[in-house]
Symmetry: D2
Subunit: 352 residues, 4 copies
């Protein structure tokens, strides 16, 4: 296995288990001379942090980042930047009874079959806690993105079947579910708390909007930006689908309805393609949606098997998010930032 590296020019390797010493990322390929402070990284980690509202897990993790290398006098050196976040509130005791039991909806059994060994404490590396390293690395990628004036907005478009009827980006960071519609946000929060009370969980849809992307990013054939962004987002645990522009609705359109007619060398009448033409950015806003499954960890009793295949009952007691959407939002943004930064750096070699 060597699946813990992401990117080509900008390469990230992450590590760490949910209940081990800590989690971290090493980022190689960050250009030299970029100003960066621990505070900027911490800001993103705080957005993902557990225990930030009543709809997230009660696990208490300060998630303080330590910068181990690559930054000197406030600037990137061009050398790898290593980031470490130590685990604090890892109650491993909660998990001992799960040692020989496979939680439904989790990777436990598949992992056991693959490796023949697993860290059963909180899912080990298959835990959602793994994403803290992505967010830390993403904070560095954001610096490259921002220098290009690119803006990434992600928000809860739908939770527990409740959609949004308006789009007001200013309210996103002001409600517990990160919706762009303050009224829908309240309904979503209520639905989450209801599910939580019932020992259950809910799913949702996140929309990601990326503006000011220069035309010409992404490569033809296998490295289309849609393929790269798709892989980046589908690599987040719990994401079961991704679509661009009109997405699955394209199945019912005709070519004459789907085609975006250029009105100038910079603009198109419509944006059904979602800012991507033939796998390359066309200068319009990139529009992506991902679906997030309901949290697998629920306290309702479920059936499963143990390591000998015997039928067992299971009730997952730990502290879990009843809906993954709010905390996956900064993770999705991080993955988008890492992908874009990598492709933007790569695009420097497009022309002679």
């Amino acid at each position: 296995m060597a699946g813990n590296t992401f990117g080509n020019v900008l390469k990230v390797m992450t590590f760490g288990e949910s209940h081990g010493v800590g989690l971290g990322a090493v980022i190689d390929g960050i250009p030299a001379g970029i100003k960066i402070s621990a505070r900027e990284i911490q800001h993103e980690l705080d957005r993902r942090r557990p225990g930030q509202s009543k709809v997230t897990t009660a696990r208490q993790e300060a998630d303080r980042v330590e910068i181990l290398s690559g930054i000197f006098e406030g600037k990137t050196l061009g050398t790898p930047i290593a980031l470490l976040i130590r685990n604090a509130d890892a109650k491993s005791g909660d998990y001992s009874k799960l040692k020989n039991l496979f939680r439904p909806g989790h990777a436990d059994l598949a992992w056991q079959k693959k490796f023949g060994i697993r860290d059963f404490r909180g899912g080990g590396r298959s835990s959602g806690r793994e994403t803290v390293a992505r967010v830390a690395a993403g904070a560095l990628a954001r610096k490259i993105i921002k220098a290009k004036k690119i803006k990434i907005i992600a928000y809860a478009k739908e939770i527990a079947g409740i959609g949004s009827s308006k789009f007001d980006p200013k309210v996103i960071e002001k409600n517990s579910v990160r919706a762009a519609d303050a009224i829908a946000a309240k309904k979503m929060e209520r639905a989450i708390l209801e599910a939580k009370k019932a020992g259950d969980s809910v799913g949702g849809v996140i929309e990601i909007l990326i503006s000011n992307v220069p035309a010409g990013i992404g490569d033809p054939v296998f490295d289309k930006i849609s393929a790269k962004l798709g892989a980046a987002l589908l690599s987040i645990g719990g994401v079961k689908g991704v679509e661009f522009g009109v997405g699955f609705a394209a199945a019912k359109l005709r070519g004459s309805e789907m085609n975006d007619e250029p009105t100038s060398l910079k603009a198109k009448r419509t944006n059904r393609g979602g800012g991507i033409s033939g796998g390359i950015t066309d200068g319009s806003e990139i529009v992506i949606r991902i679906v997030v499954r309901p949290t697998a960890s629920i306290s309702i009793q479920q059936k499963t098997v143990d390591n000998r295949g015997r039928s067992k009952k299971i009730r997952i007691a730990g502290r879990h998010d009843p809906c993954l959407v709010p905390r996956i939002i900064p993770v999705a943004e991080a993955m988008v930032a890492l992908t874009l930064a990598d492709l933007i750096l790569k695009s420097k070699t497009d022309r002679a």
Copy 2:
């Protein structure tokens, strides 16, 4: 740019323009000692070939494959296998008037902005014809897949808004649209021909089912099999979304409805996750759906701009598929085969 390589252990590099000398693929990393004949590769190319039915383009291409290397006395040598398919019926004259005009829904303008130069004849490398090399390479990957008894079925689940009401895999290769429902297939064909007559095109949804996949394939974190398959499929021109298992429907489910409860070490009560748990195969059938946009090339008049940004009218005259679904099906299968073969080879190093 270096986006024409796919895979890690099994690495494919493809090349070629729609109206150039030809298209091809070099496949590095195929294990030694596998029996393979040109006939097996040709069989897959024939399934993708233009002109095979009235719903496909009238462009006549025999698409004969020439094996240039890597096979000796009917077996793979462990050296790269190079495959070449020469272009025959490339009517480049049709395209001269498109030299300075950007076709709506195509990559023309994005490509021009990226590279400052493009082969305007039939879209050059951005043409769907590029996929002939994927299918050729995929035929080799299939040999690795088949040795594991893995079976890949792909079919048109929906075209022009017409869905399927039954699943009969035997009929797939017997109807022009590759549906798994003979009656729906006729309706779909009719809808395509109607759109064609109107100078328009239609989209659809392809479902891909992969059975007999051993548990433990795919890697945690960034190289989840969903991320890898997602990237593989989203790299096909015209694909605007991908989902696994229940896919986007997961947004409306509760955890108690979504979780697949194991009933033994090999089976689960349900398969909502689509054969993937935490990014690793769990032994159940892998279920994927992709959405294919309506063909961008339509003969209805559209508005666009020329290379100076001046408003122009355009009518695309060439020979085009009014629906991409039937011919993308073998391409999607090829990408799935390449992805699985690569991950299966990689999984040989999972354990000590």
Copy 3:
């Protein structure tokens, strides 16, 4: 196995067996907009071509290159450039008796143990003929090098124990051994012909000088330019060692003798480091030497074993170069060009 790809940003995949259909290369990552003609590639192939003088093999190969993709109206498109050189004078009959016999000094036995199968005709892919694809690809890399005014000179510094006493680059392409000393060249030629007459072969040393390299190329730690150039040159069959600057002589120097003192921000008093400081180019001339073993194929009778391990006698009859040095020179240049072009493109992302 997937060892047929070279480079990162500029990626080359080569293919082909000595007595198969042909040999070739696909080059991905060449920037768009570079003027290139088949003639320029052919020029390099002609420098490597067999049968060019009495000290090279009598095998007759025109080695005509066919460009299959990636070039449009005389310029690179930014898409992969595929090059094909068909085999013409492949007398496979010569080799049938070698089917079950392992030639001393060749890869036959190691290859058989690795893959369990091999193309015994002329060594298949382990033949020196493989390098024709490197030279073709290198001709493209040279365009990127030349645009930077970088100049690569390689010459026979020593053959069969005969060294050079002067360095006159103008004579290199004017003598059969590619020495930079016209008088030594004659002695070297005579030594080669003598060895040939005796059914034997000789080795030598090639020196490579690269001038006008900008400072700052190559990356710290694992991707030092010495490591990259070293790997590139050691990947050529028959090369058994490589050294930079004073090379192995450094073992006997003191720090005060070895250190190159800067005399300005652009110049150093001496160049013992050979243009490389800490793995990064420092602006001085890069100085490399490689040692080339005597050709393994000799017609003197040798002892060996067959595929059952039985003792056998062998006399290699084919047409072989009695000294590899003259024809490896353009190959070494090609590998240097590919390495530099790759690192130069990569260096575009060094700074913010």
Copy 4:
């Protein structure tokens, strides 16, 4: 820049500056289920540690390794193993006066030109201290090597012009210079101390012997094991050349002298090729020699320039090894182990 990653199947990313927080490595692709203890890693670090004898630097670094991830209940999980070694005795004050001065023989000026910024304290990431992370990672690779019964021995073959006249591996770890000849060792030590007293430094040659390597490791063409080992060793700071088997002496041999005649399917009469045939291991002992330049940091006064190009005098005061050979030996072993482990894992996919 992204040059801090090594390997393909077994991938290592290292990080850290000489006078920063610490140094470390993340190793991805280690198979699951391998027993490993911190003690085994520490053992290798201790062999490289500064201050271990009178011929090494007086810098005091305990170099205690902390395992951050990837090991659970004493076994590898198949997830990345992150290792951290914090810097302790980093006297940064020593370096402030070097802020605007470029040390002869060092990467300072080349680095400045590349990145426009550098951590001048002890060379930052260009310091030899960087290799502590290689040794830590190599200790893990050794586990894979050892499971195959492969044995790596490296020793000082020559220091300051003093060669060895016998080879007794038992004495290597028992003398301060790691020679395999106890008497020569004393002479070498004396020569080093003499140079040190004079404020100067000396170079040498390290020989590396690898036994019990199975035949068939390494890949044809670009990934020959000689190319891979060559790159691995040339990536160590101070190494200016590498040779295999008879190495540079091959230039003076005839084919009939150089060729190793097989005497059975497992043995050869001689081993001039150094265990490598056509880039693939042939089962004989691998024989490698590298040349190590004299330490660049010397206290003798030298000439240089400052950041404005003005002529300056410099005397390097810090605590430095007067000869790099003894401490590079465990580093070279680590790089060999990493290379072999990577290629051995890769070879699992050679055959169907």
